[in-house]
Symmetry: C2
Subunit: 560 residues, 2 copies
């Protein structure tokens, strides 16, 4: 945080948005298979006693629970510590904090550290430890029980129509179940078709699952930069993004204070946090890509594993031999991680140290159950470059590395493009499923045209809905500021809502048994002129209500 | 206009937005086949002399031509009067203006009439007269030559890659040509696969074509209502909508002053104007649907034909026998025209007078070459009701009526839904092509989920892009205020830009030979850090520029 505040000034309710959404209350259910777990949902109440309330998936954590008090200085409750007993772990003295972890920030430029220093955990021994290893060994973890309960939503109520819904949907070879059991979760993770990103050092997390037989998830990117924003603002962006439905958050901070910013975010985050470790590694060598080394990178991975980052974007597919494939592109290499590695490879004329040390990276990440998000450093930055040889060459390498990571016991998702016209989207999905053996796909958009900067949440929302339908498991949001600047709070919300639309449209099209409950309830409210119910059942009740008021301000109109 | 203004206060540049878009100039080209025609385009200039300017389709008329002065009191130049010589027409004393045409508005409540009273034209004799009849007779009209030139854009420059582009695209059975000739236009119109909506009494019009082998078009709805907005505001909405790319505008005004409002709009509109005549007919019977008669409806059609409306939404498929199919729906009948007719049919227990008198309607419309837009009164208003028996029963009737209208020599497009989940969109397109024998499809959205009021430009933009790709010829925009209130100027712009994105994404996916020129130019500018060019080449330079400035305000950053 900036120096003009003391750490005691950071308290929830001040800079942070808390409290339930309109007409909503947090409810918790207890899974049949583990009476010790409490799984959160949001219950939207209706004004008509004849109409049932609607239970929706809720990624927002304790911040929207009116019965819980959050204190940013303490972080969220570390419930999941007790779950770790089922695994063979040890606590150990972690790596020391180094000046370069915060970009050598000093004095007034150094942000306050998070007030509590937790001692990190790591695996010990070779018993099944990661979710993938446990699943392969036939073990059902608490996290698996938790996410099974979480995924079902109102599916219990609609069991009698589940088959019909699935039959009417089109899910392109996915195998959505009528009902999600912990055993189904286990089998999907064992097949590599789903992951539960949950670092053992992020016990504040409410576990969630990413896989194409589950609800389509969305990620929101946040992150401070050299030019703007304080730690408080970043925490608020995380809370704000999850309030509107972000299932995971990536902290893409650059510049100084990266370590401290991340610590504050993780300690207060109910959702998995992803990072691109390369960004911090680059700061450690003062932004000079050529000066990167395997040691600096490895040190950064361990630092972030110990902090509790749940998944790492690792650009291991940017191989020396592929770089020349990008020279005739309209937009070259646009991925930041990709261009850093390409610069390093070309300067040293050497194979990527990430690719070369991939097995050791696996060995580090499996100590904490950090999941891979294999980055697409050659993702196309324009319609002209979509589905080209550079992109697909890299994808094939990501497929090869997926299997290496699995063999090491790690969980894996794979990142995808980018800018892709509609008719080339499905080829991406099909090829990814094939070469990555059904490891979950995690795509940025894709943007379906290049001509609308300022509206790229929409150009990409179109592509996201489609690729989500075709089988992508998680959609990385794009905000209206894409290509133009850093998103502010409003942009984050617009991005999240747009991507909730895309993800939900995909769930509907796949025939997800419970996904239409909310549409039906809202449409019925609309047809009955129950305006307040229509607003409250919507993804953004505040905007719906304000738009209605703008032209028909009187309450009398609302019941007309 | 409201009474506090005199008509002399209505002058362009005051309430009306004029002038070119940033870095743009209006250019006119002369078609090879008719040296008397001047076809407008917008030329976007680049800052780099090495980079060519980019020519884009331009629906905005003289308002964006810095060399032309527009005067709303005079209306736009009536260039197309001289074109009428090629057809057998007569001028005649039109229908008298009646008090009910303006909803019995009197005194201070009666808006000023448009200052000039033009004598209407109509066909005389049975020589080929409508674009459809001329095309069938092998005649190439000036309108056909004009739109051929207009559709080509920069296609001349990319002829060498046209085939490759089309081969790579996927256009689901459409047959886009490498290059558009007047003869190709004629043959498409003769097959009923395209229309040029151009009432002979709207000579201010710059002709355009709607068909799936051409650029996907978009429509913007405007219209005053009893509660708000003046005539000036409605003219400005029309000018504003076309400035951002609306290819046609529907005037959906209700309440008083409908006749005068429409007259001002048509006289000043460079794009085709559509209406739903039923809305005015209902005003003439004081809003009581049961009191509608064929005579009132017919009188309204003639009134609007004489004014110059280019296409009519006619809900002729809402047949008595189908109404019961809607009783089990979640959202019943949501189309306003549909519900008016259903109410009438049920009250009188009689077949729709529109369906019964359909041939006479054709006889009226063919006198002026007004095009049919066969309305879908049973369009689904929710995901739950998509593709149901009511919807498809009506579509089959629309298919039957398409052929009746063609036999009468009329041009026809067919309206489509509505709310449709992604996996049910293609069925709509395929069925429409089949039962309506490839008559152009004109869809509202479709909205791919019901849960995001306030963001229905996005829920529907997803569906619009997809159905445009599958073959829809024109997309009717949806604004953020859909379901909630009347769109203001900002909403109109947001709706138009969103639909330009959808239409353009569809053109790209179909492999339109010239559509990628703009994407490539913008992407190249982006990669070269030519910020100003990136903004100017975008659909909304103002927004792109302002978003960039928000976080990186210095000019220095723009060239970095």
């Amino acid at each position: 945080m900036s120096k003009q505040h003391t750490k005691h000034e950071i308290t929830a309710g001040d800079e942070i948005t808390t409290g339930p959404l309109p007409a909503s209350q947090k409810v918790y259910t207890v899974p049949q298979d583990d009476a010790g777990l409490r799984v959160p949902f949001r219950e939207i109440l209706t004004s008509d006693l004849q109409e049932p309330s609607v239970r929706v998936y809720d990624a927002s954590g304790p911040y929207t629970d009116s019965k819980q008090i959050t204190d940013l200085n303490k972080g969220l409750p570390r419930h999941r510590i007790s779950w770790l007993k089922e695994r063979s772990i040890e606590q150990y003295t972690g790596r020391d904090l180094l000046p370069e972890d915060n970009g050598q920030a000093q004095g007034a430029y150094l942000a306050d550290a998070f007030p509590i220093k937790h001692t990190p955990y790591r695996r010990t021994g070779e018993q099944p430890f990661t979710q993938y290893e446990m699943a392969r060994a036939g073990l059902i973890s608490k996290e698996m029980i938790y996410v099974a309960e979480r995924e079902n939503l109102g599916r219990q109520k609609v069991l009698h129509t589940a088959k019909q819904s699935l039959d009417q949907g089109e899910c392109y070879g996915a195998t959505l179940p009528n009902f999600v059991t912990p055993e189904f979760i286990r089998s999907e993770i064992a097949k590599g078709r789903a992951i539960i990103p949950a670092n053992i050092n992020h016990p504040e997390l409410e576990p969630m699952i990413i896989g194409r037989n589950f609800l389509v998830k969305i990620n929101a990117n946040i992150g401070n930069s050299a030019v703007s924003s304080s730690i408080e603002e970043e925490i608020e962006k995380m809370v704000w993004a999850t309030r509107w439905g972000a299932d995971t958050v990536m902290d893409l901070s650059t510049g100084k204070n990266i370590h401290h910013t991340r610590e504050w975010i993780i300690r207060n985050s109910p959702v998995p946090i992803g990072t691109v470790p390369m960004y911090q590694a680059l700061e450690k060598v003062n932004g000079v890509a050529e000066n990167l080394t395997w040691d600096v990178f490895k040190d950064t991975l361990i630092e972030q594993c110990e902090q509790g980052v749940d998944y790492f974007t690792i650009h291991a597919g940017v191989r020396l031999a592929y770089i020349h494939l990008t020279v005739d592109r309209v937009t070259g290499i646009v991925s930041r991680g990709g261009s850093i590695m390409a610069k390093w490879c070309l300067h040293h004329h050497q194979e990527s140290f990430i690719y070369e040390n991939f097995e050791e990276i696996c060995d580090i990440m499996r100590q904490y159950d950090v999941s891979f998000s294999l980055g697409d450093g050659f993702r196309p930055g324009s319609i002209a470059d979509a589905n080209d040889r550079a992109q697909f060459a890299e994808l094939e390498t990501l497929g090869e590395l997926t299997q290496v990571a699995w063999a090491k016991g790690c969980q894996v998702i794979v990142e995808g493009p980018g800018h892709v016209p509609m008719h080339k989207i499905k080829e991406n999905m099909d090829k990814q499923l094939e070469v990555c053996k059904e490891a979950p796909f995690y795509t940025l958009g894709p943007l379906t045209t290049d001509i609308a900067p300022g509206y790229d949440h929409i150009t990409s929302g179109i592509g996201a809905a489609m690729i989500g339908w075709y089988g992508t498991s998680m959609l990385c949001y794009v905000t209206p500021k894409e290509h133009l600047g850093l998103p502010n709070r409003d942009d984050v919300k617009t991005g999240v809502i747009t991507y909730k639309i895309a993800a939900h449209a995909a769930d509907l099209a796949k025939g997800h048994p419970a996904s239409q409950i909310r549409d039906n309830a809202l449409s019925k409210a609309r047809f009955d002129f129950r305006w307040e119910d229509q607003f409250n059942l919507s993804l953004d009740p505040d905007t719906a209500r304000s738009f209605h008021d703008e032209t028909l301000p009187k309450e009398a109109h609302k019941v007309a």
